[in-house]
């Protein structure tokens, strides 16, 4: 059950998107998110949908994976939609007691739903086609100027990539610990909030101890492999823009231009 979470999970394939520089993909994701907020009409959303569909097709990642990430935000999505529908004032379409659904509310709700969904799918495309390492490399390079004001960019990106590597391992471990305690009669489902919190102790203590142990082991393994900070470190996969990236930036610029044009023209 816990293993179903795909957010931040890489899907290995051999596509143009996989080959792009992570910085290009970061920029692309940003452009796409901006565009989703610029578009506000049906033709606009059609363009965004087309763009998204094209990206999914190019990525060679099965569509199913894209939508898996949505599972995590289904609740947020529902709440947003419902609240927008009943809380927006305007022309009343349907009424039950003090609850009113308005035309403007429905429009806003649909727009929010589309934005949220596209946001998640858009960022899923990036995380599914970019290894966490490339992603942190990209961020490291993009954020390098911050080094000047003593932000430890290398350390932060190293921590992020290690965290990403251990998330699936710790999730699996959580599963195992839960089973081991359920076998001893532990109950993680029933009871009031305080009881529930108390019942988590047999899960959290072994999990934390294991996490510390892993951290300790990993630190030692990194030292054994000559890790001594970011100084004099070379890279196996240094970030270099290739022809693909130039083309991608071109496409992105064109797409952004369309989004702005639509907004300005009011389409």
């Amino acid at each position: 059950m816990l293993r179903d979470i795909t957010l931040g999970q890489y899907y290995p394939a051999n596509s143009v998107l996989h080959k792009l520089d992570p910085r290009t993909k970061l920029a692309g994701t940003m452009v796409f998110i901006i565009s989703v907020f610029l578009f506000h009409t049906l033709p606009g959303y059609a363009v965004a949908t087309l763009f998204l569909a094209a990206m999914i097709a190019v990525s060679k990642v099965p569509v199913k994976f894209m939508f898996k990430g949505l599972k995590a935000i289904v609740m947020i999505l529902m709440i947003t939609v419902v609240f927008n529908m009943i809380l927006t004032p305007g022309e009343v379409l349907w009424k039950l007691g003090f609850l009113k659904v308005t035309r403007e509310g429905v429009q806003l709700a649909v727009r929010m739903a589309i934005r949220l969904t596209y946001l998640v799918i858009g960022s899923s495309i990036m995380t599914l086609t970019t290894t966490p390492n490339q992603l942190t490399d990209g961020l490291e390079k993009a954020l390098r100027p911050l080094n000047k004001i003593h932000v430890p960019v290398h350390e932060i990106s190293m921590m992020m990539s290690i965290a990403l590597r251990f998330i699936p391992i710790l999730l699996e471990e959580t599963d195992k610990i839960m089973k081991a305690q359920i076998a001893r009669g532990a109950d993680f489902e029933n009871g009031n909030l305080i009881q529930k919190a108390k019942n988590m102790v047999p899960l959290l203590v072994p999990l934390f101890i294991s996490a510390f142990r892993r951290a300790n082991d990993l630190a030692m393994a990194m030292e054994a492999r000559c890790y001594h900070g970011g100084e004099d470190r070379t890279q196996m996969k240094p970030l270099k823009y290739a022809a693909w990236d130039r083309a991608a930036y071109g496409i992105l610029a064109a797409y952004l231009a369309v989004a702005i044009a639509f907004r300005v023209a009011g389409i």
């Binding site: 099965p62 199913k64 471990e173 195992k176 610990i177 089973k179 081991a180 305690q181 359920i182 076998a183 001893r184 009669g185 532990a186 109950d187 102790v201 047999p202 203590v205 072994p206 101890i209 294991s210 142990r213």
Partner: protein, 299 residues
């Protein structure tokens, strides 16, 4: 106190490209009081199988009966079942969490509704039966050695007074002495409490020495279910599944091939010694003079 599996099938992520048939049409009868071994390489379905026995996993299809009752029937009390069918997982680190050993072992019994005092009675009994010394009851479980942790983990389940005790690779990571000690202790428990023991192991040598019945899992199927001797006779098929018979089996077959009339069914060092000695005697081998040593009776 029997468990019966009827046509049990379990599929991970059904309907996706990750679909794995972890169990395929398993039929098993586990009666009272047996000492059963389960063997199979990683991914053979043996872990999935044992988690079905105490309702941690629900089968995709098929039924599991405990004392004739369907454990997945709507009103069935699966929490109560888990006290009857105790499962000890491979890593004690996954279950130890209290600040001292005694409290940790009390966790199970207290979940059954016992008071702390009543639970302590059960905990002390269980700790004593796994050979854990009383002077260490107050220690933190985290400062114990691997073998001691394992004992506390077993006691933690045993204190719930299960009728069936399932142990998933109880010897993993232990050194040879630690391994023998734990297995001897488990065999002792079997005698002492008369409960059913199901031992999951990678080691054919351990299995051969202790169990009376051996289930071999391969690709989600129970391919053999017989006495260890009968199963090891299929040693070539076992190899084909990435398993192997105990080293003794190979030695005995090799000796027989080279003309020594030994019993190929011997699986333990003790049996092999007896069989080789009598074979040498029968052959009037110059290597062995019975009168000098007092013969094969000296153990």
């Amino acid at each position: 106190m029997s468990i019966e599996l009827k046509n049990v099938t379990y599929t991970y992520s059904p309907g996706t490209s990750y679909e794995i048939h972890a169990l395929k049409d398993i039929n098993l009868m586990i009666p009272d009081g047996q000492f059963i071994g389960v063997i199979g390489h990683t991914g053979s379905g043996k872990s999935t199988l044992i988690q079905h026995l105490n309702a941690l996993i629900q089968p995709t299809s098929g039924t599991i009966l405990y004392n004739g009752e369907d454990i997945w029937a709507e009103k069935y009390n699966r929490k109560a079942l888990r006290s009857e069918v105790g499962l000890v997982f491979q890593y004690p680190e996954h279950q130890l969490f209290e600040s001292d050993v005694l409290s940790d072992v009390c966790f199970g019994p207290m979940n059954q509704g016992l008071t702390r005092e009543e639970a302590e009675v059960e905990a002390r009994k269980a700790l004593q039966q796994v050979g854990f010394k009383e002077k260490n009851y107050g220690k933190s479980p985290f400062e114990l050695s691997g073998g001691q942790k394992k004992r506390v983990a077993i006691a933690g389940v045993l204190a719930m007074n299960p009728k069936i005790l399932i142990l998933d690779e109880p010897t993993a990571g232990l050194d040879p002495k630690g391994r023998d000690d734990i297995l001897d202790q488990i065999a002792e428990l079997h005698k002492l409490r008369g409960i059913t023991i199901i031992l999951v192991s990678h080691s054919m040598e351990d299995i051969a020495k202790y169990v009376e019945r051996l289930i071999v899992m391969n690709q989600g199927e129970a391919v053999f279910d017989d006495t260890p001797k009968a199963v090891f006779a299929h040693y070539q098929e076992l190899e084909f599944m990435g398993l192997a018979a105990p080293q003794i089996t190979y030695i005995m077959h090799a000796l027989k091939e080279h003309g020594l009339p030994v019993d190929e069914e011997a699986t333990t060092v003790e049996e092999a010694r007896g069989s080789i000695l009598s074979a040498l005697k029968e052959m009037h081998s110059p290597l062995f003079h019975e009168e000098v040593t007092g013969g094969q009776e000296n153990a």
